[in-house]
Subunit: 371 residues, 4 copies
């Protein structure tokens, strides 16, 4: 039961890196939602490899085909399935990895869990490539949130290998949308250069780096989420840790809140023209697991790409002996910029599910069908 998530909106992803196809089934979408495939493809394009020197030169054809759930450009209310055929897979690149376990990857844990029957080629179902169908589903959710609820989601690179962009994200809501059009979404252009420098340096050395992404969800009203087990933090973190390479998440001030006094960290309320606001957003828009009307803000720690060209110590599971491994082929010296649209998408799926949990299938004022 590995690959399904959601309460009202159920998302199920499938596929292996070098299998016939990868894809996603989205079950529970209301009917009558207009879907703009161009928007979805533009988001998927952001994740696609081979665009510049900061990511792998490997090309993937991430063109999705919708085979169900869409009729005359609108959702039918039945499960929507999108499929991406696998191409340019070069299986022979990976054959030598059948027994030598790549450190930092899921090779060994997958080998144990699946008793050696997993498809080891390219990481199989553990491959970052499987985030493409997740991105598809989430980009669809993003446009539904924007068009029907006015909710905007954006993610920027906050840090790469210790280089931070200290400019404010939350206080510039327009950047939340603008940032989506950047290939390397950093606000402070000076920090951007330093980050890219670190990536290229690591690349030259056959090594890799990671970083921190910061996400903001704007215009989500107060009252969504649940106390305890379906807290907004619980649901978002569950989803975000599904993305390969994520090792940490924090909301609002996050770990830094432990350096504050309660009198500082408590966000004071005030009213203006009958509306309720908070003077600060240390809690990242969530109190008691429920949105408070402020932007939801979270940061995600993404580890250095485990695929590196350097010689590494490992084991051979066929002989159960120690060995070394040098992963040849095309690698991402940094995966953070490609993970950004996946995080956007993942967050959008959670928010749409939250809304549907509260408002049901009929959460938006749709006009009736063509009759």
């Amino acid at each position: 039961m590995s690959s399904m998530i959601g309460n009202k909106l159920k998302v199920s992803i499938f596929g292996e890196s070098h299998g016939g196809a990868i894809g996603v089934v989205i079950d529970g979408l209301p009917s009558g939602l207009e879907i703009d495939m161009n928007f979805i493809e533009s988001q998927m394009e952001r994740r696609a490899p081979g665009k510049d020197s900061f990511s792998t030169a490997r090309k993937e054809s991430d063109k999705p085909s919708v085979v169900s759930g869409l009729f005359e450009g609108k959702t039918t209310g039945s499960p929507l399935c999108a499929i991406i055929l696998n191409e340019d897979t070069r299986s022979k690149d990976y054959s030598y990895l059948k027994y030598a376990m790549r450190p930092g990857h899921a090779d060994y844990t997958g080998h144990v869990k699946y008793s050696g029957f997993n498809d080891y080629r390219g990481g199989g179902h553990f491959s970052g490539r499987i985030t493409a169908p997740l991105l598809f589903a989430g980009a669809l959710a993003m446009q539904v949130l924007e068009n029907y609820k006015g909710i905007l989601i954006g993610t920027r690179i906050k840090k790469i290998y210790g280089i931070a962009d200290n400019s404010s994200f939350e206080e510039n809501p327009e950047t939340v949308v603008n940032i989506r059009s950047m290939d390397f979404p950093v606000i402070d252009q000076q920090a951007k250069k330093l980050m890219q420098h670190e990536i290229l340096k690591a690349k030259e050395e056959g090594d890799s780096v990671g970083g921190v992404a910061e996400t903001i969800i704007l215009n989500i009203p107060a009252g969504y989420g649940e106390p305890f087990f379906d807290s907004v933090e619980s649901k978002i973190s569950h989803m975000i840790f599904s993305i390969p390479a994520v090792k940490g998440i924090e909301f609002g001030q996050g770990f830094n809140i432990t350096n504050m006094r309660g009198s500082e960290s408590n966000d004071p309320y005030y009213t203006q023209e009958g509306n309720v606001f908070l003077k600060s957003n240390n809690n990242g828009g969530i109190l008691g697991g429920i949105t408070n009307g402020m932007p939801v803000v979270f940061r995600t720690a993404i580890k250095p790409t485990p695929s590196i060209s350097k010689l590494q110590e490992t084991i051979d599971v066929s002989t159960m002996e120690n060995t070394t491994l040098q992963v040849s082929g095309r690698h991402d010296p940094c995966i953070v910029q490609r993970a950004i649209p996946v995080i956007d998408a993942a967050a959008a799926l959670v928010v749409l599910d939250l809304i549907m949990e509260r408002e049901g299938e009929i959460f938006f004022n749709k006009t009736k069908g063509d009759i």
Copy 2:
């Protein structure tokens, strides 16, 4: 659908701070498990308030009564329900909080979500008190894991208001168990004094502080968990963010891994006598969402107790005007030490669920009943 969690082992908590009772239903426990109520009560005692000057002087009778699912000291296989009656609740303490929303608490978000019908007394269902039944369920899971699988879980205070205990936790496995007997579980005694000093200082000023807890799960074999949506990180973070006041979680090196190169963060494998080990544990015992045989290590950021005696700005939801609020009564100047056994318990519930997902209801070699 706020208060249920788990795939195979379903835990459902109920109750409000000042209602008739709080409790928990655990559904899916195998039959024939011997339960030592003394161990459970000793864990609950760790959370109980009123023990020392670092927590509130309020007394709570947290004595649980098991009303089903236990027969002659062993689980029956039917849902196990434990109930804790509410006493010493002093409802009048809270009456003035009906309309004035306490900053940092769930008063306002609960008010919006439940349209003003929530039980506002003492935070109602949002109260930290509702972690007592969660702790009950988790302490039960802890002893099942220890007795039937040899899996040990322990949590220590890593940081309070910036004061860190830099001694190693992971490398001293015996402390994982020993630390449970400490009221204030810090390994480095010098750090402990400084932390306690900070708490008392905050208390004197009517303020509060938070901190970071570090949890270690020992002896969990490789192969548990799932790729993507039921990754071990996903399941643990989902559960941990259910605990009030948690604002961040990280596994292994966590956020610090973004300061490393891939060649450093990748944990190399080696074999010894046919067993597989890793030379480091930067990934916190989890790769691709699945345990790798190393200890699972995570850290939890806990915010300063939102209940403080200082004057705070807020709103009155009956008049929708700005107002100020001074929360009288007995507060915890720091909640971290009381949250420690709750984190242990929460982690235990996840681990038991992971094991049952893989091994079913018959995961242990139980001897047949008395016939």
Copy 3:
């Protein structure tokens, strides 16, 4: 994972016949619903034993205590837990049943599943007594459906031991409600006498009989339910087969529809004043798994009470030898009339869940809390 059901409205029952208490947790109820406990208790009274000569003389105190989720007579939105303490249990009546498996009961299957650790006294968690908390939850749902949606549910005895009441139920909607006030809810008084005669005859002979219940759900609009796995029939049947002793269910014409031609069984549509009606209701108000606006009609087959006084052949699981068994004590010669309010309640839970799936937590126009 035995005892939870529901998508949006989750119901979890617990307890054993002779344990400390039985009860139910209802998770997902919207806040602000006015609950009339008298109505709930009047429904529970209908199931209570000891009322007349057609059921067991055993008395049970089925008085429920609500310990959470209700505040000032309205739901809080948090889990609502109701508890019924066990009294008058006479454990010694059952001690000889520890090893001798009663035919027709779950003694043997429970013994195998739980490896002999189940609480055998009075059937433990398998006892019909555990339907009391289910009835509590369902009676609560019934009044919510009536008060906020105008949906009415009623169940009558259609058949006892081959004696049928051939009067129409569906065409007399007022009887749907009136029938609830009858102890032995049969419409045709002549059939009623014959049925009761059969029950008493069986009782005299230490034997038992079963029958068929017919349920009607009025005023449920078209459009609820799902194609395939959450069809209305799927959800109702799943719930109804949870009630002990149920062996069959059919919707509309049910099994009899297999004796019809398509031209007869297809229910023709017609419109009147802009509304859509069907000229017949052979499909029992459901097409493609979704309500069509007609009354939902189903019939439930209930087997003869397995507890009889006659000598029966069985096995002793301690010696694994053949033996005989004579069940002494107080038995129900017929359980159908006591099952009637449980079926009502079970159906109500499904309907409320269907509505909340579609319309969310905010399915009714509630007035805001007292501010």
Copy 4:
């Protein structure tokens, strides 16, 4: 949330009759299971239309492509997705059905639920064609049950339009398997002729008939299932009512048990060589929701195919006026024989889920992968 089912083994179907493709995702399959695609295709062939005069002449290419989860002939443990491309769909046949609601079909209920946005062509997602991917998943489960657990499932036609086959099914276990090779699986050849005669008579008149299927599950041991909400009857009925046209289900003696006394319907136990047996099987192999070691037996009522050539009264949803409708094109005069392998498959999915619930992912002794 229409189209997913299962606790441990999750099955998700998608597709519309005239969309791009239909398919299924099976999530939770253990790794290393050998899959024989020929067996699956032979089962799918049984459902395929166009074989003889008893079903529609319409041809469908039901050739499934497995795009994930299978590697070198064995399951990988990752989600298995199979896709069937839609061909020979003749969309224009259905264009006139956009507004005229076919009686007995889901046209109207789908129209209401999806506000007119559903894909009306050929019934869209409600089409019986969507049972093809369900059958795929279930046929896979059937062979896993047979090969790894020795559990056999077979379904026969018990009745067509009142003509019954009174020969015993349960007492001839070998027929359980043999019957699968029959196109029209009736045991009594005389009854078979009469049934086929009725079908052809209805066909000539542009009408249709239905019938009753009887299913038997052999060699399922005692102890599977749950009390109350996951009773075996609950799970099987939930699944079976997902199949279009099903209007009733009964287990063991089913509705007939209401004509028996308790002393007749209780199945007596006896032991022989340390094993436990029952002298009769009135309860259909299930007591208290749990298997008792006897064959699980159930019967399913299938209504006459709603598609008939006769003139029918209905409404036009564009004008909201009364109209008449004559459904042209190729119809099944009887759908029962085509539903038989779908029922087999559906039952197999439930049984495999039951086993995995109890025994986990590692329920069978698999040999390790090729290392």
